[in-house]
């Protein structure tokens, strides 16, 4: 491998990841893409999903991403996301509660519910849960 690429994951509230990675795989709007060092400049929106990368020691790590976009440069990948969480920071109990809440809301069929938002919340929570279940 020629070297490591810098990965930065930033949200409006905090900087989630800032470290060197061997490879970064991100869920682009038109499909998942991988970035190695020397990538051609590239800009894309990201889907709700999981960003995976191998750190400098080759350990695979996952970050949950929602509502963002990524910019790849030859030596750097910057991900700007509305929310992002490392796998180890995900609180499984809270996620399960969120799923329950969203499901109840969707099932209740009350007219004053914003279905789009409840559905999006459910999707986000399910994704978070999925990440925690990935084999370590």
């Amino acid at each position: 491998m020629a070297g490591n690429i810098r990965l930065e994951v930033v949200t409006p509230e905090t900087s989630v990841v800032s470290e060197d990675a061997q490879i970064v795989v991100a869920p682009g709007a038109l499909g998942e893409f991988g970035v190695l060092i020397g990538h051609t400049p590239f800009l894309t929106t990201l889907k709700l999903g999981t960003l995976r990368y191998k750190d400098a020691n080759g350990v695979e790590k996952c970050v949950f991403i929602s509502g963002g976009f990524a910019e790849a440069l030859p030596d750097k990948v910057t991900v700007l996301a509305e929310s992002a969480e490392r796998r180890r920071d995900i609180d499984v109990e809270r996620v399960k509660q969120a799923i329950k809440r969203a499901e109840e809301r969707l099932a209740s069929k009350k007219p004053d519910i914003n279905y789009e938002r409840a559905r999006a919340a459910l999707l986000r929570a399910l994704h978070r849960l999925k990440i925690t279940e990935i084999r370590r």
Binding site: V10, T11, P12, E13, T14, S15, G28, A29, L30, T40, P41, F42, L43, T44, T45, G67, F69, E71, T78, L80, E82, S83
Partner: protein
Amino acid sequence: MATLKEVKTKISAVKKTKQITKAMNMVATSKLRGAQQKMNAFRPYALKFADVLGSLAEKAGEEASPLLIPREEVKKIHVILCTSDKGLCGGFNSHLISMAEKFAKEKSEQNIEVVFTNFGKKGRDWCRRSGFQILGEHLGIVGAKFGFNIATVAGQRAVDGFLDEEYDEVYMVYSEFISMARQTPVMQQILPIQPIESGEKKAEDEETPYLAEHICEPSTNELLGDMLPRHVYVQLYGALLETSTSEHAARMNAMNNATKACDDMVDALTLAYNKARQSSITADLMDIVGGAEALKG
């Protein structure tokens, strides 16, 4: 002359007030620190976002998104007014409100209707009093803990209303945090989005023109269309952070002044108290001496 007891009660009352203002000052100080940290945490995101958006906007034309196109005739304006929920922060809210008031008056004279969305109770109360239509209110956010999602929800509503032609322009009034001692109200147009230039200057400094050879996925215009609403959220979130920080700074200063005023008052009252005590002692002495003289005689 006030009686001794009255002065004494007054002194203890002022001292209690001082304890409160001092405590509020300290609370504001610690909250200010938190708010500033949040602002610092937001800065990298905001800068990067402005960078990418600026260069994207250069590449794409005005027709890329309806959010960029100014309306020929402006009939209704939506103002997002950020104020605090609580008072006791000097002229903070009244400055913001007077700015909004002036703007609303100007526009009403041109026969343009002005409607409001309020962050903060003070602004909402003013809107109610003045009889402006309120589209939405968000209390308990400014000056408290809030996340980016608040800005997303409110921003989304503003964008949707704009696209539905419910109103033709969106402005926001917020307080810019310049320094501990200075916070100025600012009025900013957020929709239609003004030509974005922030990325340009930076691009010139760098060796390669920024984004010139970027591959964009999906197309540049689609990317821009996706990013522009987010640009509104980012601006709104930034404005909320600024307002929160300003509120705490304003309250800190106000409470600092109040504490000093309390000190002055206690000094003045103590003087009055001593004078009153002295004169009562003198009067007592006179009585005793007078009595003794009378007995002698």
